[in-house]
Amino acid sequence: MENSTQESHPRPENVVTYDSPYPIYAMAISAVNRRRVAVGSFVEELKNHVDILSFSEDSSSLKPVPSLSFDHPYPPTKLLFHPSVSAPSNLLASSGDFLRLWEVKDSSIVAVSTLNNSKTSEYSAPLTSFDWNEVEPRRIGTSSIDTTCTIWDIEKGAVETQLIAHDKEVYDIAWGEAGVFASVSADGSVRIFDLRDKEHSTIIYESPMPDTPLLRLAWNKQDLRYMATILMDSNKIVILDIRSPTMPVAELERHSASVNAIAWAPQSCKHICSAGDDGQSLLWELPTVAGPNGIDPMTMYSAGAEINQLQWSAAQPDWIAIAFANKMQMLKV
């Protein structure tokens, strides 16, 4: 295993590795300060951490900034930085029991707010994921196991709307436009919502085996016609075209084990990266017409362990960040 790992990275500086004391799941790259990377630990108890790392392309290093580490009660299910390069402050959001906002300053962390959407209780239903609206950065949408999605106005710190999105737990949410988002759920469907018409949603895909949960969703920000989703216990990446609902335009099936994460290229509409239990990260270029034998990825990277997380940020378009076991790696594209 060691050998194959070494063979697959030709030069060490193309891969920058950070060894964390804890298993890593959540991960985000800052848009305001491109050198800032946030990683969230995954420990199955109350003591979790979010560490801020400093990434340097020149010296090929990922170093923790100890003064910027902070505790997070339960493992953050997702981390995201404010999507705008010109944001007044470097805000970091985390999801879990609540949606929390933190301001990452140069040498300190300030807890900005804890957003609870329950009016009657000091608890809110656990959040599986969230997405920051790039067009309208005051909006954050969260997905919850209570079958709802909540749209927050983070400037007001108030709920803009809460929708019962699915029949079962909602596992992921992704914004398309300023007022349009999509979500995937344990009920096996991908649905699109328009905030201008909250009464209706459009189902654009349902998993072939009824009730096979859909776990992750990625909306192609370069070409909003396309989105990608992954199924539970499946090695497939399903590519959807919202113009042709129910029929996927492509299914990418070259992972030899289940897929854990997907991310569209931030600067290209036809490239997508995926990572899975086979320890591989595959880079795909979507052809206009699929061949009879399915689609082969363009390139691949072997991590040597199950890759749990994948981020391809517009802030660092030349680098793909992956997380496996206790490691986080930045891979040169």
Partner: protein
């Protein structure tokens, strides 16, 4: 005025180009003029496209004499280029509307379009060399030419049919003509074009008077004074305004191409330094008919449809080492222009051939080692599932636990709670939560009509309690009645069977009646067994009946065979026959 002048000149120039290129039936003509933004470099001045046109997916040879169509097409191409360049800088990813879309273009048109983004330094690239030498350069097999000489050979190669390119200096710039056919060098042809089309008509526009020419051409984005010496000097004070004008006018082009062009130039400066030594001999007017090897490793087709790997990976590496930086430069330029135009591909994604100092950490899918696969995973998506399923559960558990702890705290610190207002609010909230919790328990006990508000819950509870009281009364009165009757019964066992039979016949009664029947039957059984029990002096609780909402539970113990315990569960609406059958089965066992 200035704009009118400028337009007049450019229109005229284009008409000349159109006439010239159509007369020899070549594919395109481009006039490279001096850039207003970058001194000493040539940029797109005017162009006329005369090649194939793709309409509705079919390539049609353009009718050579249709002048308006050709001009219109050239305009459309320019418009498309500008809209695409604008599209890159505007925040919305949507393309501005243009008459043409990238899908509508033929390969040669693509070449023409991408050429608009190029900038050449004097002495560099085909137009630059032609200008510096003040001589015609005739290039055959342009698609095979070395990128050092003809930096767009990659482009030409992609269009695959562009074979002959000719550059000659003209009017302070360079005219470039190209065709998809292989044409042998013919100086007379150039001379013919110069005299019959360009110069003859240019006389009408461009006055030999130097000052006038300067002014007119200045607005035409073509400073005449650059003819003599390469450095750009602007003796005229009005040129500042002019520069501003051009900046605005040309911004659409510059925005798209500027970044790439400047990088390209870095490469091409190096290219010059290297290739000047190497290529002095080859840059004569004689054509470079062949180059060694094939420097193109990964070429994305212009329409972005597929990436074609021409060479084996080993060859790629060799070629990369051999190829001078100029190759990489043009390659990068080509890729970046395409990607900025189409936004379809990230320039660093087009394979291992890149300009960055760091190589990709990804290897080609074709080169993958199958042995490096991990052993089969026993619990797929382990962490992902934990995050989605179990973290939620952790939160729920934590909530319940902390709620318990708070309850305990409440008990201990009940008096302290009123000390602070906040505490009071907190305890009040907890009290309300407790009340809500109890209400929810109540809801689960009392059959409700679907309403869950507190008043309805209480109403239902009251109603239900009254109903239960009535039932208790009914049952007691039945009990008394049947006890009196039972004295006449001789054998309890028969009585059960008989009553069961009766109910079997009347089993299609209404639901309420059925429920009554069941209850009666139970009562009878109870009575019967109590009779027996009376004889066998067994305990009185050997039969129990419970009716909860829809469920009827009959439980009885047979006194003859003490080990048999029977449970018969019926639902309101289940047939009496089912109950009868169940009883008969039991009796048979006995």
């Amino acid at each position: 005025m200035a704009t009118a002048n400028q337009k007049g000149v450019t229109d005229n120039l284009r008409n000349q180009l159109a006439l010239a290129v159509r007369s020899i039936q070549w594919s395109y003509a481009v006039f490279w003029s001096f850039s207003a933004k970058q001194s000493g470099s040539l940029e797109w001045g005017e162009g006329y496209y005369n090649g194939d046109i793709k309409t509705r997916k079919t390539v049609q040879a353009v009718e050579l004499n249709s002048d308006p169509l050709g001009l219109q097409r050239s305009d459309q191409l320019r418009e498309l280029f500008e809209s695409l360049s604008l599209g890159e800088t505007s925040p919305q990813p949507k393309r501005p509307t243009a008459a043409l879309s990238p899908e509508d273009l033929t390969d040669t048109e693509w070449y023409f379009l991408v050429c608009m983004s190029f900038v050449f330094n004097v002495g560099q690239g085909l137009p630059g060399r032609s200008f510096a030498k003040n001589d015609t350069i005739w290039l055959r097999n342009a698609h095979l030419a070395d990128t050092k000489l003809f930096s767009r050979s990659l482009l030409a190669k992609v269009s695959e049919r562009l074979q002959t390119v000719v550059c000659f200096p003209h009017l302070g710039g360079v005219v470039e003509l190209g065709t998809t056919e292989l044409v042998a060098e013919d100086r007379n042809l150039i001379q013919h074009i110069k005299t019959s089309f360009l110069e003859s008509s240019s006389d009408t526009v461009i006055n030999p008077n130097h000052d006038l020419v300067y002014q007119v051409l200045d607005h035409a984005n073509d400073p005449e004074n650059n003819l003599d010496d390469v450095e750009v000097c602007s003796p005229d004070t009005s040129s500042d305004d002019f520069a501003d004008n051009v900046l605005i006018e040309g911004s659409s082009l510059a925005d798209g191409a500027d970044g790439e062009a400047s990088r390209l130039q870095n490469w091409q400066f190096k290219d010059d330094a290297i290739s000047n030594g190497l290529n002095n001999s080859t840059s004569s007017s004689d054509c470079v008919s062949q180059t060694q090897g094939n420097p193109v490793t990964v070429v994305q087709q212009l329409d972005g449809k597929k990436t074609s790997d021409n060479c084996m990976p080993v060859n790629q590496e060799c070629n990369q080492q051999k190829s001078p930086p100029g190759f990489n430069g043009s390659d990068v330029h080509y890729q970046s222009v395409l990607s900025s135009l189409l936004k379809s591909s990230h320039q660093l994604m087009l394979g291992p051939n890149r300009n960055g100092k760091q190589e990709s950490s990804f290897i080609s899918w074709k080169d993958r080692k199958l042995s490096s696969r991990l052993p089969q995973i026993l619990s797929p998506q382990r962490l992902l599932k934990k995050v989605l399923f179990e973290v939620a559960r952790m939160h729920e558990n934590a909530r319940i636990e902390s709620a318990k702890q708070k309850d305990k705290c409440d008990d201990h610190s009940g008096q302290e709670a009123d000390e602070v207002d906040r505490n009071h609010v907190l305890s009040e909230r907890k009290r309300r939560e407790k009340i809500s919790e109890r209400f929810s328990i109540l809801v689960s006990l009392v059959p409700s009509g679907g309403k869950v508000d507190k008043v309805s819950i209480l109403d239902h509870t009251i109603e239900y309690l009254r109903e239960l009281e009535r039932k208790v009364e009914d049952l007691e009165s039945y009990k008394e009645a049947t006890e009196r009757e039972s004295t006449t019964q001789s054998k309890a066992h028969d009585s059960i069977e008989r009553t069961s039979d009766n109910y079997g016949h009347s089993k299609f009664g209404s639901i309420t009646k059925l429920l009554g029947n069941k209850r009666k039957s139970c009562d009878t059984e109870k009575m019967a067994s109590e009779n027996k029990r009376g004889r066998s002096s067994s305990s009185t609780d050997s039969i129990t009946i419970s009716i909860t909402d829809k469920d009827v539970l009959i439980e009885m113990r047979c006194s003859w065979r003490q080990c048999v315990l029977v449970e018969s569960k019926g639902v309101k609406g289940a047939s009496a026959g089912a109950i009868k059958q169940a009883l008969q089965r039991i009796i048979k066992k006995c």
